[in-house]
């Protein structure tokens, strides 16, 4: 593999891995916009996320096998080209079905690129262990940065730009890899014979799936809470959830201090669960209160993902196939997390919406404002509720214009604030059971982590 110098090749491979794995979470902050633009439901829009992760989970191991058959560089280059083409299709999709289909194709290309990259990296960096570390770090960084980047692009440009911007990036990453592919073809070295050592590490992969389910829920639910519940803009939510990747950087610095992968995995799973538990118990609808839980989740995910990936790949070959199993486990976990929690969450938000509206109506009924103002408010609120079924409504405009009489104006402003408080309570409470269940999933990962001592670690 002397067709390209190692440094750009390694950078291209890391970029490819980061780009593809960012895609599992990059649309999270765009979901509310997609939800509105394509006029769908919360359950429907979740499939923009689920479809990609589901196909990644199913395709990762076959893609790794294919990469070994046709040559990893060729597989990575073709995979990135497919990823870019499907990204373009996502960017111009004007309905949910097309978008979901394009996301599936994107995942197929992505699976080939990511698993092939793990096969190519050892030759480029000279060490299997270092290659694993670069691969795992690139993936974790991409997944952690994805939501923030997606949120910023959605706010500054549009949700479509998230996909369109991936096209040149994926093609740029493919160029140095293409040079290796040409070399592979010219020399006839399409596959590398390596020893096969062992079956997939079951305990580590199961734990990866469970922790990934919890982390996906943390990101997905937190973003929905911030945007749909507390009415933050996508860029505002992006800034808030940036705390998680920043904390992950801190967590990755802790990793080398503790050699025991099992201890890092256990501590990471506990921190992820603790953070999710904190999100389930938010005492008020305030952004600042989401920061300590996010710090725990961020530090925890860095510890647990790297420890479990390291365990799953350690001493095993071929790397691409075992890497494929970890990708498969992680994305299966994301799918399980989203599929299990979305129905609970959508049912809860419908219930809490009704409770919050009733509580807000009670505040208005019990207030001492002029009855004519109450009737007017009731009519406007009812009109807005009818236009915003199935979600937390925006009722602020129902209070406009404010009465000109200073006394009435103060009363109405107070009513508006009290109604908003009830809506905040409802939105926040609606997410609690789902965050709680996600925390439980993270804790359950301690079972395979604990068992892994006897199994193999």
């Amino acid at each position: 593999m002397s067709a390209a110098t190692p440094r750009p090749r390694v950078a291209a491979l890391a970029l490819a891995v980061g780009l593809v794995l960012a895609d599992s979470s990059v649309v999270i902050l765009a979901l509310p916009d997609i939800y509105r633009d394509l006029d769908t439901s919360i359950a429907g829009v979740t499939w923009v996320l689920i479809s990609f992760n589901l196909v990644m989970a199913l395709a990762a191991v076959p893609a790794a096998l294919l990469a070994r058959r046709v040559g990893p560089a060729r597989a990575a280059a073709v995979g990135l080209a497919i990823f870019a083409g499907a990204g373009l299709a996502c960017g111009i999709a004007d309905n949910l079905s097309t978008l979901i289909l394009a996301r599936c194709v994107q995942a197929l290309g992505g699976a080939a690129a990511v698993t092939a990259a793990l096969e190519l990296l050892p030759a480029s960096v000279g060490s299997e262990r270092r290659a694993t570390a670069i691969w795992a770090t690139a993936g974790a960084t991409g997944a952690a940065l994805g939501p923030a980047v997606g949120g910023i692009l959605t706010e500054l440009v549009s949700w479509q730009s998230i996909f369109l911007i991936q096209v040149p990036v994926a093609l740029a990453a493919a160029v140095p890899i293409l040079a290796v592919a040409k070399h592979e073809a010219a020399t006839g070295v399409l596959r590398t014979e390596v020893r096969r050592t062992g079956r997939p590490h079951l305990a580590a992969n199961i734990a990866l799936a469970m922790v990934s389910a919890a982390i996906a829920a943390a990101l997905f639910l937190l973003v929905l809470l911030l945007i749909e519940g507390w009415r933050l803009t996508p860029i505002g939510a992006a800034v808030v959830v940036t705390v998680m990747p920043l904390a992950a950087i801190l967590g990755s610095r802790l990793s080398p201090l503790v050699p025991s992968a099992r201890a890092r995995a256990a501590a990471g799973a506990i921190l992820v669960s603790g953070g999710l538990g904190g999100l389930a118990l938010l005492p008020k609808a305030e952004v600042a209160l989401t920061l300590p839980p996010q710090i725990l989740v961020g530090v925890g995910l860095a510890l647990v993902l790297s420890a479990l990936t390291e365990t799953a790949l350690g001493g095993r070959a071929p790397q691409a196939i075992h890497g494929g199993w970890t990708i498969s486990a992680r994305h299966a976990g994301v799918v399980i997390g989203l599929l299990a929690l979305t129905p609970i969450f959508t049912a809860d938000i419908a219930q809490q919406r009704d409770d919050a509206i009733n509580a807000g109506t009670a505040v208005i009924l019990d207030s001492k404002v002029n009855p004519l103002i109450k009737i007017d408010l009731a009519q406007k609120i009812e009109d807005r509720l009818e236009g915003e079924t199935g979600k937390v409504p925006t009722l602020g405009p129902a209070f406009e214009p404010l009465p000109s009489d200073p006394g009435d104006r103060a009363d109405v402003e107070q009513l508006r604030d009290e109604l908003q408080e009830q809506l905040n309570r409802g939105a926040t409470h609606a997410f609690s059971p789902s965050f709680g269940l996600a925390a439980l999933l993270g804790l359950l990962a301690l079972i395979p982590i604990g068992l892994s001592r006897r199994v193999e670690l």
Binding site: S260, L282, N358
Partner: protein, 174 residues
């Protein structure tokens, strides 16, 4: 620090951090941060020393809504929103299977309960309460809804409902 101890410290610190966060948020009311629950409309709601026509009107409306909601088996808040617009009323009728006749009966019953509550609270003289009760038991649905929404009108323009007794209204109101 040896590697085994580092591992124990890391796991211990993780447990302490997770428990501390949960404990702090619980102590700050994390488990009870939810919308306030609606009260049972069949449960009597005491009038809180109303003073002036507007306050009496407010409490009258609430009592009427409670009474009607109790009859219909819904919350008073749901009923209040249902009565806000004709379209809302239509949606409410469809959702709960309540026709206009049933709604009218319930609202009239609610208005009677409001008169009872007002009388019991000393906000309405028995001399006015009797004829007012008889009046609200007969009024048409649209007028009954109007009265629930703005009870002041029943007190302001009681003369139109009460005939000769209406002139006594201002005199007998506290």
């Amino acid at each position: 620090m040896n590697p085994a101890l580092r591992a124990q410290v890391l796991v211990g610190a993780a447990i302490v951090s997770a428990l501390a966060l949960a404990g702090i948020y619980l102590a700050a009311g994390g488990s009870s941060y939810a919308p306030e629950k609606s009260q049972d409309p069949c449960h009597h709601r005491a009038w809180s020393n109303p003073e002036g026509l507007q306050e009496i009107a407010n409490q009258f409306s609430i009592s009427a809504l409670d009474g009607a909601a109790c009859q219909l088996g819904v919350t008073r808040e749901t009923l209040a929103r249902a009565l806000a617009t004709p379209e809302a009323r239509e949606r409410f009728s469809e959702r709960y299977g309540i026709d206009d006749a049933k709604l009218a009966r319930a609202i009239r019953a609610g208005l009677v309960r409001a008169v009872d509550d007002a009388e019991e609270a000393g906000a309405l003289s028995p001399l006015i309460a009797g004829p007012l009760r008889a009046t609200v038991e007969e009024i048409p649905l649209d007028q009954a809804i109007e009265l629930v929404q703005n009870a002041r009108s029943i007190l302001d323009s009681a003369s139109s409902f009460l005939g000769p007794a209406g002139e006594l209204l201002e005199e007998f109101l506290p």
